[in-house]
Amino acid sequence: MTNGVQISAWEDDPGNGVPGDGVRVTRPAPDVGRAPLAFSFPAPAPAAAVYQPGTPEFRYWTAAEALRRGADFWAALVPLTRWHIGDVLPVLLDEGEDLNAYYDRQALNFFHGDSPDGTVYSGESPDIICHEMGHAILDTIKPQLWGAASHETAAFHESFADISGILSALQLPSLRTAILADTRGQIYRASRLSRLAEQLGAAIRAVQPDAVESDCLRNAVNSFTYEDPVDLPPGAPASQLSSEAHSFSRLFTGAAFEILGGLLNAQAAGGAPTEAQLLAVGNDLGRILVDAVKAAAVVPNWYAQVAAGMVQTSAAVNPAYPPIVKAVFVRRGILSLHSAAQAPKFANAVNLANAVGVVAAAAPSPSLGVHLALPAEHYGLDEPLLVEPAAQQRPFMAMSAAGDATSLQPASSSRAATSYVDDLFRRGRVDYAGQGKPEHQLNHGRRLRSHRVVKDHEGLKLQRVLFDCGLCCR
């Protein structure tokens, strides 16, 4: 029986750059064998008590506490009554020497290995524990992903597992309070919450410096944007994306973490977010993600499928969420502007088939003197947007180089204008200034706007407001 007994455990990953300086918490002794989502360990559990770090007993209770906390979170949220493999998921805390951990549809497997600071046990890190358990959760929700021959589905499994680590960590009140203080309420900043598996990352870095990020195994605060993984190399330094699942997973994890920050800002409504709000938006993100995963078809462009589903499912959680979710996915390139606009819940019935065309402009000098009317439904505007295309006659032909060093044909002025305006909206650089319907627009939060939408007798026009150095856009 463990009722009323306290144990000591790591609050999150014990590696924070200072050996032996992880944050400890005292928690009620967990019942790992309790359904739903029960666990089993091969050896008898040590007596529930407060043990010192570095002992097998401390490692056991750290793992048990993280597993119970994470499983309780997902079991209630999804909801789940059993694992894909049955009622009980075995846990093997030290299967030998390796800097690794894995889920194999039979057990959660953890290892130990050398690091500059001594022996590292992957089963001692709540980040890694809840990552591996996240694989088992997703395998239960969507077992069809297990054998899918797709970069994106494999990478998503890693991303979901990392998100599991983050959302499970948020179940701890002490961690929520600490993270809000560390980030001053701006969750989308590098912190103990965004950094996953610092200790294992340091051990791997000592062996292979470019295999992991500079401060952890993977950081959920990153600036990766979508590229077709089929066109990416199979491996790359941690600073770049490759098609390898753990590498490519960082794109979706970064988007999800950015959404978490956006949802928290929306909840706080300009004030300082509270730890209760942080818990609430963490639970909201989990629900949005799970509902989207359940509904998504298993196809090669899985990221876009899930992202579109998240836009849709977020509306049922909170009507303020879809513009935030859309904005992040569009900014990351996971969803195109058109895809985001056509998420079924928000499809605009307005037919803009006749919206494209160059119209005469009465704009005075120093403008270019013509306006191009761009379809603007996918920007969240009710009528075409008049923009000034770069349409002056070229005195000579200059072309950029493609990746294979061949020349790229320059885009037509209309295509170039469309691409440019798309980028402005994707990056949140346009002030809608009250035009259009807010529920159809992208809410990028507080950003420096270089352009604004204005309405005059000809219609809606895009006007530049300022030039800036571009260093404050993400």
Binding site: N100, Y102, Q106, D139, A149, I204, A238, S242
Partner: protein, 72 residues
Amino acid sequence: MSDPTPPPEDERIVPNDRESISFVKGLVAAGHAARLGPDGVLPRGATHEIVGETPGGLPILVRRRFGGGMAG
């Protein structure tokens, strides 16, 4: 732990289009695809077992675990 039981047909990854060929080649390049060792155990760094070969010489795979490449 390893699972020596034969996989169902629908869990076999046969590289037969652009996406699946790229996926399988990526696993092979990263060392995440391997045959079972003499002891019947999949090497630790591998996530997929090689269970066959296409006429074109590419391996046919079955996933055996997630997480075999924490370092990415």
